[in-house]
Subunit: 321 residues, 2 copies
C-alpha cells in the first residue's frame, strides 16, 4: 500500500451526516450550518512527551485527542458535528494507525461527528484536532455571566486523572482496584456534551476543567468580575484521592488538571430546573460553592473555616480556545 | 510577562469582523455563517525540517503558514473569513513570536480574516492552521467536474518555488537577480483567493497546485474520470527556469511542488467569460492543454510531439483537505 492509501484506509469514510456536502478528498470540506445556530470551533494540540507518553496506547490516545476537543464544545453548550485531524507521525506504523483511528472514530461515531478532513505529515508525533459544532446564539454558555449568589457546580469527580498520572509516574502507589477506574478517567475522559447542551439557558457561565479547578474557575471569575467561595469538603473526589494526605489531595483535586469535567454557575432561580435538565446527562453533578461579589479570587473553606492552600501550577504555556 | 501574556500580546486582538460573536478567550469561538452559503474548512500542518528550515525567517513563515491554507479555500472558490492557529514551540522566543505573528496577521488582515482561536503548546516546532470560509453551494469549485473538451488553465507561473528551493539547497546556482523574485514565490506565496472567487460558475473543476502540476492535475483527472493533454511549450515558467536543462526544468515545473497556483478547467462555452472574470484577480492565467476522454492520465506534448517524462515524486505522506 502507498502512504496515501494507508491513510485513506484508516481514516477516509463516506460522509454519514447529511450536512456534509463535501467531505475528505477535495481542497476543503463543505458543510451546511443551520441558519438559526452559530458555528462553534475549538482547536487543541497534544504533543508526545508533553501531553502523553510516547508509548501511550494509540486506541486511548485517539479517544483522548478527540475527547479534549469535544469537552470544549460541551463547555459552550454546543452540539458537535464535524472534526478535522492533523496528525504528524515519525513513521507509518499501520498497527499504531489502526488503533489510533479506531479510538478516534469510535468516539466520533458515539457523538455522530464526521471526520471531514485534516492533514498527515511526517515529523515528531503530535496531534491537532479542530472540532466544529453548532449552538443557538441565546443558549451558548460563556465564561463571563456569573453573578454574586449563583451556585458553583461541577460534573463528575475532580482529581481522578491527576491521581492516575501520579501513579503512572511512580509518585503514588495505588492498588489495582483503585488504579483501573482512575486510568479510564486519565486516558478515556468522557466529554460532557449532553450536560453542556442541557445547561443551555440554565447556567450563567461554564467552562471545562482542563488545568484544574483553581485555575479554570479563576477564568470564570476574571471574565465575570466576581469572586468565589469553594467548600472543600463538598468537592466530589474519588475514594482513592480521599485517602491521600491533605496537601497532595488538594493539589491533585484543584490543580492536577486533565479533569475534562464542566464547572458552571447557576442562578438561584434556576436551581429547581437544574436537576431535571441534567437528569438525562449521564453524569453526577455537585454543588461546591457560590459566587460572591469582589475581586476575582477563590476563598477556600473547609467546614466553614478559611484555608490557605499552596497549589503548584503546571504551565506548558498552553492557551487554548 | 507570563507565558499566557506573551501569547496574548502577540496574537490576541479584539474581533474585527462582525460575524465573530465570540473570538479568543472562551472555550470555543462562535461565528455567524450566512444562511445562503456553505462553510468551507481546510487544515494544513507545517513541520520544521520537513516543510521549512528551522532557521526560516519567522515573518515569512507566518505568512506562508496562512497562505497555504488560504490557497485551499481559493481552490474551492471560497471567501476566507476566520482562522485558528495551533503553534507548537520549543521555547518562548519573543522576537521570533513577534515576527511570526506579524507575517501571519498581515496576510490575515489583507484578506479580512480574523484569528479566532487555536492552541499554544511546548514541543518540536510545528504549525497547524485551520481556515474557515464561505462559498455559495452552486459556486463551489470541485475536482470532479472536468469534461472532455474543457481547456486546462493555470494561474501565475509553475516551478518558481521549486527552483528557489534548489538554489537554497545549493543544487542550482542562480544570480541574485534571478534568485530574489523566486525566493518570494517560495517563501511568500500569494493565495489566489480573488481568482478562485472569480471562477465560481465558470470553471468546471479546480484545485491548488501544492505537490506539482503532474500530481495535482492527476487528482482532477481521477475525480472526473477523464484524461488530459498538456502542451509543455505553453507552460508559464519563470525565465530562470527556462534557462535550466530539460530534465531539471520539467522536474521542477511539473513535480517541484509549493506552487500554490490554481489549476482549473473551463468548458468552451465559458471561454469568452473567463478573461472578463479574471481581469481583476491580479494574476496572469495561461491555457496549457485540454481534457480528453479516456484513462485518468496526462499525455505530455512538446510542440505536438508526445514526450515521455520521468518525474520524481516527493512524498512526505502529505494528504490534506
Amino acid at each position: 500500500m502507498g502512504e496515501f492509501d494507508v491513510i485513506r484506509h484508516f481514516f477516509q469514510r463516506p460522509p454519514r451526516r447529511k450536512d456534509v456536502v463535501t467531505g475528505s478528498g477535495d481542497d476543503c470540506a463543505l458543510l451546511r450550518v443551520p441558519a438559526d445556530a452559530l458555528l462553534a470551533i475549538s482547536t487543541d494540540t497534544l504533543v508526545s512527551g508533553v501531553h502523553f507518553f510516547a508509548d501511550a496506547d494509540p486506541l486511548r490516545l485517539g479517544h483522548k485527542a478527540l475527547a479534549v476537543n469535544l469537552s470544549d464544545l460541551a463547555a459552550m453548550g454546543a452540539e458537535p458535528r464535524w472534526v478535522s485531524l492533523a496528525l504528524t507521525l515519525p513513521e507509518i506504523d499501520e498497527a499504531w494507525l489502526g488503533r489510533f483511528a479506531q479510538g478516534f472514530l469510535e468516539l466520533a461515531d458515539f457523538f455522530n461527528v464526521d471526520l471531514i478532513g485534516g492533514d498527515m505529515t511526517r515529523g515528531p508525533l503530535s496531534i491537532t484536532v479542530s472540532i466544529q459544532g453548532v449552538v443557538p446564539e441565546q443558549g451558548a454558555l460563556h465564561r463571563n455571566g456569573a453573578s454574586p449568589g449563583d451556585a458553583i457546580w461541577v460534573t463528575g469527580e475532580l482529581g481522578a486523572a491527576a491521581l492516575a498520572l501520579q501513579h503512572q509516574l511512580g509518585q503514588v502507589a495505588l492498588s489495582n482496584e483503585q488504579w483501573l477506574p482512575l486510568r479510564e478517567r486519565l486516558e478515556k475522559p468522557a466529554p460532557r456534551i449532553l450536560a453542556g447542551m442541557a445547561l443551555r439557558g440554565l447556567a450563567s457561565s461554564a467552562l471545562d476543567i482542563s488545568d484544574g479547578l483553581a485555575s479554570d474557575l479563576g477564568h470564570i471569575l476574571a471574565a465575570s468580575g466576581v469572586g468565589a467561595q469553594v467548600e472543600l469538603e463538598r468537592l466530589p473526589l474519588p475514594p482513592a484521592l480521599l485517602a491521600q494526605p491533605d496537601a497532595l489531595r488538594w493539589q491533585l483535586a484543584l490543580a492536577g488538571g486533565d479533569d475534562y469535567e464542566l464547572c458552571f454557575t447557576v442562578p438561584e432561580v434556576q436551581r429547581g430546573a437544574l436537576a431535571t435538565a441534567l437528569a438525562g446527562a449521564g453524569v453526577k453533578f455537585t454543588e461546591i460553592g457560590r459566587i460572591v461579589a469582589g475581586e476575582p479570587q477563590i476563598e477556600w473553606l473547609y467546614h466553614s473555616t478559611p484555608m490557605t492552600l499552596t497549589l503548584r501550577g503546571w504551565d506548558h504555556f498552553k492557551e487554548s480556545t
